[in-house]
């Protein structure tokens, strides 16, 4: 699931992993650990799984992907969905509302 760090930088044309811009929003403990509620990320990650590993490294998120869900364009998505340019992504930490 973990992408090599080198691919997390824009590297146009490298094995089809064209860099894209995605809008990432953070909630709850991820927001606190990231220090922001939202950021625009340039990434070569092919899937939300790859993107999370990249951001986890950068922000030192304590939660492994296995404890999270992911939403793409404000709906639940699979971790291995291809990541398209311009999408919004939210990593959803465990919740216990109500």
């Amino acid at each position: 699931m973990k992408m090599p760090r080198s691919q997390s930088k824009p590297a146009a044309g490298a094995g089809g992993a064209t860099p894209k811009r995605v809008q990432v929003r953070y909630f709850a403990q991820l927001r606190e650990q990231a220090g922001c509620a939202e950021e625009q990320v340039r990434t070569a990650a092919a899937t939300p799984a790859g993107l999370y590993e990249e951001l986890r490294g950068r922000h030192r998120f304590t939660l492994p992907a296995g404890r999270l869900q992911v939403a793409v364009n404000d709906d639940f998505a699979q971790w291995d969905t291809p990541l398209a340019d311009g999408v919004s992504v939210v990593f959803i930490p465990p919740f216990a509302g109500g």
Binding site: F27, A28, Q29, R31, D74, A96, G97, G98
Partner: protein, 149 residues
């Protein structure tokens, strides 16, 4: 209808909106902020929602309830922001011609809400500490669906 609210909920008003002449039974659930949780003294709570997805998923749950049970109407509102002890965090109400369907549907809505709607709760303790509350991990031996009010 599912919605998030940043202002205190008025259960009387919410319930009156559900009433119509053919609905004989109304079951409602009110979840309030408790003064204690797992043995710790709670001073207040903070709810944070992923609004767009919470509203979509909440609407899906209400639609499922209308499909599964013979009810007339259903609604649910969840607070966001800072809440004091005793404030209503979540309210769900269902009307039906017959009460069994109203009970089943109301319970379904609140159970699914807790599992599926991305709303986070941060407890503020008397000690000054805070904590994002996590659901019990899957497979962990916890007392089942009645565990959290």
């Amino acid at each position: 209808m599912f919605r998030l609210s940043s202002v205190p909920l008025d259960p009387g008003a919410l319930q009156r909106e559900l009433v119509e002449p053919r609905a004989g039974g109304c079951v409602s659930f009110e979840g309030r902020v408790r003064s204690r949780n797992e043995g710790r003294e709670v001073r207040g709570l903070e709810y944070e929602a992923y609004g767009e997805l919470a509203e979509k998923e909440g609407a899906r749950i209400l639609a499922e309830a209308r499909e599964k049970f013979a009810i007339r109407s259903a609604r649910c509102v969840h607070r966001v922001g800072r809440l004091q002890i005793g404030e209503i965090a979540v309210w769900a109400g269902v009307t039906a011609e017959h009460r069994a369907a109203a009970f089943d549907a109301c319970r379904y809505i609140i159970d699914e809400l807790k599992k599926r709607v991305p709303i986070w709760k941060k407890e503020h303790y008397a000690s000054g500490a805070t904590e994002w509350i996590q659901p019990p991990a899957a497979g962990q031996n916890h007392p089942g669906p009645g565990r959290k009010a």
